[in-house]
């Protein structure tokens, strides 16, 4: 029990408040017995208490709440009316629940009192009220079966309460939800009902947390934002007075800390979503006739509260998929040599500034062949193409709208509305979904979502007299356009400009022209192309340049470029939302208001040529790269070629920047050391005396990740001949490149540690 103490105390706080609400709702119901919202609210409250008590193994509480829920279900479904007798019974149930909660709070157990009598009273009240209503209406009493519209049909009251033994409690290894953020079960954002007198039940547990209206937190954040601006202005004031300087510095530090703290108030542990899943899984497992063991990990991972709500439905869907489609029935599992109970694991963790939530099962995996067949049948891909597709590419069809391979439609899943909705929902909050499946061994779906939408790193660009922010998560790279020949430039007709980026043809949008900032674009030949990727589509936005903006947060210091700033996203209201071009606005350090570009909307409005939206086109372009080579000259004057696909980047170093470590030479870039290999040395030639500067071709990990030191970079050229075998050491072959026979360096051999 002690393992769960944190959860239990949260449960007690929540239930205490729910009971107070319940009292109020019941009072209101007596005045207006037919109010459907009140009825639904009361039902939900009791249902939650029942679910939680089952989860923590409080069987008496569960049984009691269950009986109450049954009665309330009848009221909600209109099969019974709330009269004095029924109301009295419900009140005594609330009191009994409160007594049990108090007992749990003080002793950790439910106490010795027997509530079976009360349960029976509740059950008979349900029957009598239903019968009374039926009589009054002159119709026969409805059968005890649940009505069709109800998703969770309450079990007959005579049955035992839900056995919590079926599911182990989630094992939180040190995953203790701290006392920080308040529990969210009752949305306090809207009009909060006046809180009645001090809740009598769980005083001790509620001392560490306070529920605060979300609007109040938001206004604190706004005010902190104002303070940051004032701080920035203060910084720019020159003063020689030491006292003023010291004071300004102090204000500076406090403001930064205050902002970080204020931002944290928006974060909540994902536990708030996860906590409902044991129940969900249990219900699903029962209705699918499967045995499922749910393992939850990292429930204390924090996420913005607005995002927590947005991931609830997608995650529920993934869990449904896993239980219904993924995990096999127990006898099948035993036949396959697996444990009877399937394992469903739900993990949340922080990963490179984002939160990753992983839903994985040890079920049968996704049947590639079925997906392939279905994709062909639905005309998504031709049979020939499908045959040559790698399995992970085939799996992507799962995300197509209306795609389902379920052999039969069940009430749980298989209707073909699923993974596409999951993906759309996750992408709408700036997240991504990826999926791995091993036939026979299970499926893993990873959902990556940003920590918060309120604050994000963004690239601030200039375009004419305007500035715009582009979410950094979408930015792939920046390519400065060059006036001179040979540099990166924009090709194509005025209607459909494109740029070549390493073999890909990327459509281009001139931001100034697109937004009507200037009649004719001024940056066809200069300016910078920001390559962005939205969903499966890559395109380039041509802007005048970058804006170096004073970031608000300390973490700005971690960003490696001055143009990247952490911005506080603010809504721009309904008037401009209809444009679909801006997802919000932010206030920069200089006080200027800057719009945040909605790239997805921009993509839609720009109507970029559909051909390039095909992921196939990018794939074909990638294949094209394989035939392209980087041609360099060694210090010794030999002309060599390196497959472009293996080149990560090109760098220039002065000779004095090269450090000698033992018999190796290394260069340092930030925190990363790269080993240097001399091209002449690899070719077995004598190392020529290096010039004052050298070019370094940094190769990818596949080739050993070292830097190839060369004298000059000549060009990127396409192969004009088949590769001819060569016997010289370190040479993989000879190619005609640019009309000249060029030695292709044998990177595989060079990568071997000598």
């Amino acid at each position: 029990m002690s393992d769960n103490s944190e959860f239990i105390s949260e449960f007690l706080v929540e239930s205490g408040e729910n009971l107070d609400q319940l009292d109020q709702d019941l009072l209101a119901l007596e005045a207006d017995p037919a109010d459907p919202q009140r009825l639904a609210s009361v039902f939900r409250t009791v249902h939650t208490i029942k679910g939680n008590s089952g989860f923590f193994g409080f069987s008496k509480l569960g049984a009691l709440a269950h009986s109450g829920e049954h009665l309330l279900g009848k009221l909600r479904d209109g099969k019974a009316t709330l009269d004095d007798r029924v109301a009295g019974t419900l009140y005594s149930m609330v009191d009994a629940v409160r007594t049990i909660l108090q007992s749990i709070e003080t002793t950790g157990g439910e106490g010795d009192h027997d509530y079976r009598e009360l349960s029976r009273t509740l059950a008979s009240a349900a029957e009598q009220a239903a019968a009374a209503q039926a009589q009054a209406a002159g119709t026969p009493a409805p059968a005890a079966s649940g009505s069709a519209g109800v998703v969770v049909t309450p079990d007959p009251p005579a049955e035992a309460p839900p056995a919590p033994a079926e599911l182990p409690p989630p094992a939180p290894p040190g995953a203790v939800p701290t006392a920080g953020p308040p529990a969210p079960s009752a949305p306090p954002a809207t009009v909060a009902p006046p809180t009645p007198v001090v809740p009598p039940a769980p005083v001790a547990a509620s001392e560490t947390t306070v529920r605060v209206d979300v609007a109040l937190l938001a206004s604190i954040l706004d005010l902190v934002g104002e303070l940051v601006l004032a701080r920035n202005q203060l910084r720019s004031i020159d003063s020689d007075e030491p006292a003023v300087q010291a004071c300004a510095q102090r204000i500076n530090a406090v403001t930064s800390a205050l902002q970080e703290t204020a931002v944290k108030t928006r974060l909540q542990p994902v536990e708030h979503v996860f906590s409902r899943f044991p129940r969900t899984v249990r219900d699903l497992a029962v209705s699918c006739g499967k045995e499922v063991q749910l393992v939850i990990d990292g429930a204390d991972t924090e996420l913005d509260r607005s995002l927590i709500e947005s991931i609830r439905d997608p995650l529920t869907h993934l869990i449904r998929n896993s239980v219904d489609h993924g995990i096999e029935p127990p006898d099948v599992r035993v036949a396959r040599g697996k444990p009877r109970a399937g394992r469903l694991s739900l993990r949340a963790f922080n990963e490179s500034g984002r939160v990753t939530i992983e839903v994985s099962d040890d079920g049968g995996g996704i049947a590639f062949e079925k997906v392939r067949e279905k994709a062909i049948a639905r005309g998504l891909v031709s049979a020939a193409d499908a045959e040559s597709m790698p399995p992970d590419r085939v799996l992507q069809f799962i995300f197509e709208p209306g795609f389902s391979t379920a052999a039969q439609v069940t009430s749980v899943s298989g209707r073909g509305v699923g993974m596409d909705v999951v993906r759309t929902n996750i992408e709408s909050i700036g997240g991504t979904v990826d999926l791995q499946s091993i036939p026979g061994a299970g499926t893993t779906v990873r959902v990556h979502v940003p920590l918060t939408l309120a604050i994000m790193p963004a690239l601030v660009v200039r375009c004419g007299s305007e500035r715009f922010a582009i979410p950094q998560s979408a930015v792939g790279e920046l390519v400065p356009l060059a006036r001179e020949r040979g540099g990166p430039r924009i090709e194509g007709l005025a209607e459909a400009p494109v740029m070549r980026v390493r073999g890909r043809l990327v459509p281009i949008v001139f931001l100034d022209q697109f937004l009507g900032i200037r009649e004719h674009t001024a940056c066809r030949d200069d300016g910078t192309v920001v390559l962005v990727r939205v969903d499966d589509c890559e395109f380039g936005l041509v802007v005048d340049g970058m804006q170096s903006a004073a970031g608000h947060l300390r973490c700005r210091d971690l960003l490696d470029s001055a143009s990247l700033s952490t911005i506080v996203v603010k809504p721009i209201g309904g008037l401009l939302a209809g444009l679909g071009l801006y997802s919000g606005a932010t206030v920069l350090g200089d006080g200027g208001v800057v719009l945040i570009l909605d790239l997805r909307g921009l993509l839609r409005i720009a109507k970029l040529p559909p051909a390039v939206r095909e992921p196939e086109a990018a794939r074909a372009a990638a294949a094209e790269i394989a035939d392209r080579y980087l041609v360099c000259g060694t210090f010794g004057g030999r002309r060599i070629a390196v497959p472009l696909a293996d080149v990560v980047r090109l760098e220039k170093y002065r000779l004095d920047e090269v450090q000698a470590v033992g018999d190796r030479r290394v260069i340092r870039r930030g925190d990363v050391f790269t080993t240097l290999e001399d091209a002449d040395g690899l070719l077995g030639a004598a190392t020529a005396p290096a010039a004052a500067t050298m070019s370094v071709v940094v190769l990818n990990e596949r080739c050993g990740g070292f830097g190839l030191a060369v004298g000059s970079i000549i060009d990127v050229l396409a192969a004009e001949s088949r590769i001819l075998p060569a016997s010289a050491p370190g040479v993989a072959g000879i190619l005609a490149l640019g009309g000249i026979a060029t030695e292709v360096i044998d990177l595989a051999a060079a990568g071997q540690p000598s």
Binding site: S465, E466, G516, I572, G573, L575, L576, L579, G584, V593
Partner: protein, 160 residues
Amino acid sequence: MNALQHHRCCTFRVGDACFAIPADGVVEVLRGGRPARVPLAPEAILGLLHLRGRIVPVVDPAASLGVTRELPERRTHLVISLQDDWYGLVIDEMIDVVEIPIDRIEQPTATLEGAGDAVVGVYAAPDRLVHLLDPQRMIQSLVRPRPQHLDRQGVFHGRS
């Protein structure tokens, strides 16, 4: 006609006409400030201002009120609150805060052609005719495509 429940109104001048909106919806009167332009926004949206941590769209109410005027050089923004959003109306002059007796409010006549449904009543003050506005309708009419014949052609009658 819900706007008529309010006695207390802020009166202001746009062009030659005088308007009133419920005082409890007014956040503040902001003088000066240069809004950031919003490319491709509807014509009536002049830009965005930053005010107390919020982003406030600055709108020119003239078109939806059937008034033609030159935008003033030095702007006065009447910042109003509608539901949870704030809007800055560019007005020519802030006049007063007045108590308008409900029984003196009359149905709007065609005093302002092209004012659309934003004007919900008129009140004859001793010195001028005051047009009572429903801020919600006025803001909505800014983004709604206007009928062609009303577009910026409104004839105004400041005093009838």
